[in-house]
């Protein structure tokens, strides 16, 4: 009896409540910020104290004033993105609750005009920084081209490249070059390809055998081209062995197993681990250590650097990997870019120090706080 009463009473009470106020409390419509136009973002909230309807129907006003249904949504707080709209036209929306197929009191109406933006408003600061950094780096490259004398500090790992290849030649054992486990879209892999060219040239000069097992097929293709070019440049195209540059597998630890097997069977005298590495770094470096090879490693993966330092003879830390090309070639243009990089670093350090000081002093002195706030906005990206 009680249940039957509920069945009849609840819809009646709901209908009565709906007549007084809508289930939908607020409806907000706004142009989707920083997009290529034609899009409006809608958000709505519902009254949690009212019995929810079966569904909500989102409606948009047609040019003739009639309402057309856009979508049926769950009767909870939500949002919706209306796409494919005409820029500059005003669009009006509302939500209508439906219970047992009967429409209730519509929620409040909201309108917005989709617009197209030329510049992302949340990225202007980053644009300024990008332009300034680019100007600094390109300026130093230009200075390098004009023959300005540029000093670069000694990097032990890069000085050891020639010795390592020479050692392998003397011992009659191969040189193993591991370009990391990432694809060519990774900048560390590209930096690694640059160093591979140098190592290949040395190997070609000395007549050492060079093995390059890769984890990505595109890296294999690029490696083959880089090594072939190095052998051509040293006048030893006959010594180039395409089959020594192979693809093993995309699988991280499958690759580590494959390279470990190669190390144990071929017993290389010099191993280069340069590129992006993850948890396999120590597995490779320890196996290399166990076969008695001289090891030169380099990566910008901060969590792997300690492993390389523990197990390898030389380690290029972070940006030293990117500096290798300039350092090894000593070409003024490339050295200029290194100096530009240092100048950009100085600029960032100044911003950091100013920001920290401003935020700290700003606790007591407001102008300093405003400086910190300006720098925060400048470096903030949306």
């Amino acid at each position: 009896m009680k249940a039957a009463l509920h069945i009849f009473l609840i819809p009646l009470l709901c209908a009565a409540a709906a007549a007084e106020c809508s289930f939908v409390l607020t409806t907000d419509a706004e142009d989707m910020p920083d997009d290529d136009g034609g899009r409006i973002r809608l958000e709505w909230t519902v009254d949690p104290t009212v019995e929810p309807p079966d569904s909500l129907v989102l409606e948009r006003a047609a040019p003739d004033g009639t309402w057309e249904a856009l979508a049926s949504v769950a009767p909870i707080d939500g949002r919706y993105s209306d796409d494919g709209l005409e820029n500059g036209r005003t669009y009006t929306y509302r939500l209508v609750p439906y219970s047992l197929g009967v429409p209730g009191e519509p929620g409040p109406e909201a309108e917005a005009v989709p617009e197209v933006k030329w510049l992302h408003s949340g990225r202007i600061g980053m644009l300024v920084i990008t332009v300034v950094l680019s100007v600094i780096i390109l300026g130093y490259i230009e200075a390098g081209k004009r023959g300005k004398n540029l000093y670069v500090r000694r990097i032990a790992g890069l000085n050891a490249v020639e010795d390592a290849v020479g050692r392998a030649t003397e011992m009659g054992r191969p040189v193993l070059y591991i370009p990391g486990i990432m694809d060519m879209d990774d900048i560390q892999t590209i930096a690694s390809m640059v160093i591979l060219g140098r190592v290949a040239r040395k190997a070609a000069e000395y007549g050492a055998s060079l093995l390059v097992p890769t984890c990505r097929s595109v890296v294999m293709s690029v490696s083959q081209e880089v090594v072939k070019e190095a052998y051509l440049q040293t006048g030893r195209p006959d010594a180039f062995r395409r089959e020594n540059i192979t693809y093993l597998t995309d699988d991280q630890f499958g690759y580590a197993a494959g390279v470990d097997g190669l190390m144990v069977r071929q017993r290389p005298a010099a191993i280069f681990l340069l590129g992006t590495f993850y948890a396999e770094s120590l597995i490779l470096a320890e196996t290399g250590k166990s076969v008695g090879a001289i090891q030169i490693a380099g990566t910008a993966m901060v969590s792997q650097i300690p492993f390389f330092i523990a197990a390898c003879d030389y380690t290029l830390i972070g940006e030293e990997l990117y500096a290798a090309s300039a350092y090894l070639s000593r070409e003024p243009k490339l050295l200029g870019s290194l100096k530009g990089q240092d100048a950009a670093k100085l600029m960032i350090m100044v911003i950091l120090v100013l920001g920290v000081l401003g935020a700290s002093i700003g606790q007591w002195w407001e102008p300093a706080g405003r400086v910190a706030e300006f720098l925060r906005n400048l470096t903030h990206v949306e």
């Binding site: 909870i76 707080d77 796409d83 879209d185 699988d251 991280q252 993850y278 901060v302 990206v381």
Partner: protein, 286 residues
């Protein structure tokens, strides 16, 4: 004495390996168990973030790992899935690692069946895609451009759960379980920094330190680091829900405790031999 020290200094690596194996095997075989107190920290932050989402939120989970790192990351996937379903959230699963798609399916079906979550209503597995950062950028404007259909070949347009999920802005939280790259870096740089979607994650213990920078800047809402992070999460999910089955990570913590002690023991021995032999060596040289 000197000979013993020299022997210890040059101990065969196979002895180290054997002791390590025993230190892992014995606690697991003897079912040693330690209580896992969870204080404040990145694990708790991720748990609280999920707890604070309104019911029905859409959470994108990216399974960016493969079987090799499964012992650390799969317990996280299971515990997170339990938590999300029990809070009434919906899961949109995907993977940038080919084998991650199979591992996600395993976690979703197992947990989904036990908690009554239904495919296409409560969860969808989009499967594997290539491109990483590039794909995330594309998903920022259209998820269907990257995934026109789900892992089973069902068109996304006919999936009820995806009716109002057009792009990343319709996602309430991204959780990336990552064993390397592509993984957390790409999600933070693209999903959070470009589209403003909150990002949380889980990773192997080895790579956890590098993601702490994102926690400090607020670019990540929380992080589960290695088996410890997984065990923390399992403990939090079970708090007040004693009928929840025990997780996979909690029993492993005893083995990890003993293994850490063994490594520390080796470091101590190595340093004693180093200090004595080195000092004597210097004394003799004088």
């Amino acid at each position: 004495m000197r000979k013993l020290l020299e022997k210890l200094d040059k101990v065969d690596r196979r002895i180290i390996y054997l002791l390590m194996a025993l230190s892992v095997f014995l606690p697991l075989a003897l079912r040693l168990n330690y209580p896992i107190p969870v204080g404040s920290g990145p694990s708790r932050d991720l748990f609280d973030t999920i707890d604070s989402l309104p019911a029905g939120s859409v959470v994108l989970m990216s399974y960016d790992y493969d079987p090799s790192t499964m012992p650390e990351l799969q317990p996280m996937a299971v515990a997170l899935t339990q938590h999300l379903f029990s809070r009434g959230h919906r899961i949109l699963a995907m993977a940038f690692w080919p084998q991650g798609a199979s591992l996600s399916q395993e976690a979703l079906t197992a947990v989904g069946d036990s908690l009554g979550a239904v495919q296409y209503r409560d969860w969808v597995n989009l499967g594997y895609t290539v491109g990483a950062g590039v794909s995330i950028v594309r998903m920022g404007s259209s998820i269907r451009a990257v995934y026109p259909q789900d892992r089973d070949g069902t068109p996304c347009d006919s999936i009820p759960m995806l009716r109002h999920v057009q792009n990343l802005r319709d996602i309430d939280l991204v959780i990336c379980l990552s064993a390397g790259d592509p993984g957390i870096h790409a999600w933070v740089m693209m999903a959070h920094d470009r589209f403003g979607v909150p990002v949380g994650g889980g990773c192997t213990a080895v790579s956890a330190p590098e993601f702490y920078t994102y926690l400090g800047t607020g670019q990540m809402v929380g992080l589960l680091g290695g088996l410890k992070g997984a065990a923390d999460y399992e403990t939090m999910v079970r708090e007040g829900r004693e009928n929840t089955p025990a997780g996979l990570a909690t029993p492993g913590m005893a083995a990890q405790s003993i293994a850490h002690l063994v490594i520390m023991g080796f470091i101590v021995i190595g340093n004693i031999t180093y200090l004595i032999l080195h000092r004597r060596g210097r004394g003799e040289a004088r």
